[in-house]
């Protein structure tokens, strides 16, 4: 599955390019954070990788493997929770995998324990707080034992305490052996979590550097402006 190579990936609904020739290579370890202004195509890139949208050009090479079926998980900005118990919301994600019911139950309880929701296993998932909901969504993804975990702004609209809890879980998932590819607008979070940064702007990868080098010496004008807090329209205007 790795190294994951994205070559010339293009998404242009009605001829309007939103992603215009994305080239990227990802190793199988660590946390890669995608940064970029709104409309840069960060979420779009994750959705294309997850197979939720058809690409209009280019392609993805999954390390020579045909498809990442069962080895990829995604957590959305707004976690999707069924009107079922906390337990059931994790357990159903194991249905496609050939695991016996007893095994599914054990793995579900284990992962709920790790995200601190075991005591709420029988509660309705819809009664959880925002932070708990995101932890539950991460638990579901974690239970699938993914090789690649896609996270779309997992801490958007969470308070600092909930954000810290989510970040701890993301680190644990990485330690468990999953490659994490996530988007965020929180630069502090990017500095805390990222091993490498992918900077997207205008539907293209402007920069792909280690986190340390990116924050120390961003070489593209768009990345420099972004880190200095300049507005995207100003960048376009100056150009």
């Amino acid at each position: 599955m790795f190294p994951l190579r994205i070559a010339g990936l293009r998404f242009a609904p009605a001829g309007r390019p939103l992603l215009d020739g994305v080239d990227l290579e990802l190793s199988g370890e660590g946390i890669s954070v995608i940064l970029g202004p709104n409309g840069a195509g960060k979420t779009l890139l994750l959705r294309l990788l997850a197979g939720l949208l058809p690409a209009h050009g280019g392609g993805v090479d999954w390390g020579g493997a045909p498809e990442p079926a069962g080895r990829l998980a995604m957590v959305f900005q707004q976690p999707m929770l069924l009107r079922l118990s906390v337990f059931a919301n994790v357990e159903f994600a194991l249905w496609p995998q050939a695991i016996r019911p007893a095994g599914r139950k054990a793995r579900t309880l284990a992962v709920l324990e790790r995200v601190g929701l075991a005591h709420r296993a029988r509660d309705s998932a819809r009664l959880l707080s925002g932070g708990e909901r995101q932890r539950l969504a991460l638990a579901r993804a974690w239970a699938m034992a993914p090789r690649l975990l896609l996270l779309d702004e997992p801490t958007a609209s969470l308070d600092p305490t909930a954000t810290e809890a989510v970040e701890t879980i993301i680190r644990e998932i990485r330690t468990d052996g999953a490659k994490v590819l996530m988007t965020t607008h929180n630069l502090g979070q990017a500095t805390r979590l990222a091993d490498d940064i992918i900077f997207l702007a205008d539907g293209r990868v402007q920069e792909h550097e280690t986190a340390h080098r990116f924050f120390a010496r961003p070489h593209s004008p768009a990345a420099r402006a972004y880190l200095q807090g300049e507005l995207p329209w100003r960048i376009a205007f100056d150009r």
Binding site: R83, L84, F92, W95, L127
Partner: protein, 287 residues
């Protein structure tokens, strides 16, 4: 001053003897016989024209409540059969309609749109048409005639099932499709197949679907045409509330009709109250 009123109200004694009711004057006509002219002078009514007819209506109502309060055997038998037939039809209809509607919500095939339009149209299927179709199928010369089901409670169950399946399936399709739009990306990434999605979505929408199912019960219990045709309205065997109300009203036995009407109305109200309470309970529990 009374002359115009009296002259307008003159009625021949040969036509209507004093104190005797006629088809046109159901109550004894108050008046005074005039031997000289041979006519009866009808006196102007002291109260409003409808006042006299209130007396039997009150009596009818009292009789209806008496039937209800006395747990009249005939009434209980009719109510019991109605409930058995409608609940059985509902159970079968839910078993067919819920998965059918959920499958239609998540399925992707050519002709799906036409099928949804047809299903929605079938919600308004006239019950007499269903009655005739089921009659043709179950009659001796029909494909299922050898089972001898016509004019029996099972035939009524079949007819009511045919009526409630489109209703339950169409409402289920709409509810589940709305949920499917929300969950489809997550299911796709996880690798949930369509049969598993149907199972999950039915569980997820269970509270909304129970309301849809109760609507199906209301449809089954309140219909009259189909069960009249395939059941035959046989006293003590296939007579249900709606057919009994139709028959007794035409016979003039309004007390039983009203008593059955009160039971039917109470059941429908109870169903709606149950549906409302269920939604509230589910909302409090995060459903």
């Amino acid at each position: 001053m009374l002359a115009p009123a009296i002259s307008l109200a003159r009625v021949s004694t040969r036509m209507v003897p004093p104190g005797i009711a006629s088809p046109y004057f159901p109550l004894p006509i108050p008046g005074r016989h005039d031997p000289a002219s041979g006519v009866m002078l009808v006196l102007p009514r002291a109260r409003s024209p409808g006042a006299a007819s209130r007396v039997p209506m009150t009596e009818t109502l009292l009789e209806a409540f008496s039937l209800l309060g006395g747990f009249d055997h005939r009434l209980l038998q009719i109510v019991g059969l109605s409930l058995r037939v409608s609940l059985t039809a509902l159970a079968i209809g839910a078993l067919i309609g819920l998965p059918l509607g959920a499958w239609l919500a998540v399925a992707d095939f050519r002709g799906r749109g036409a099928m949804i339009v047809a299903l929605n149209a079938l919600m308004g299927l006239p019950s007499v048409v269903v009655g005739v179709l089921v009659y043709l199928v179950l009659s001796r010369s029909g494909p299922l005639g050898s089972y001898g089901l016509l004019f029996s409670p099972p035939a009524m169950v079949v007819a009511q099932t045919v009526l409630v399946v489109p209703l339950i399936a169409a409402v289920t399709r709409q509810i589940v499709e709305d949920a499917w739009k929300e969950y489809a990306p997550e299911f796709s990434v996880i690798g949930i197949g369509r049969p598993q999605a149907v199972r999950l979505l039915l569980a997820d929408c269970r509270f909304s679907l129970s309301v849809a199912t109760l609507a199906g019960l209301g449809r089954a219990m309140s219909e009259v045409g189909a069960v009249m045709i395939v059941g035959g309205n046989i006293d003590g065997y296939t007579r249900v509330m709606t057919t009994a109300i139709a028959l007794e009203t035409s016979k003039g036995d309004l007390a039983l009709s009203i008593a059955l009407g009160i039971v039917l109305l109470t059941l429908i109200l109870a169903l709606n109250a149950a549906a409302y309470s269920l939604r509230g309970w589910a909302a409090r529990r995060g459903g």
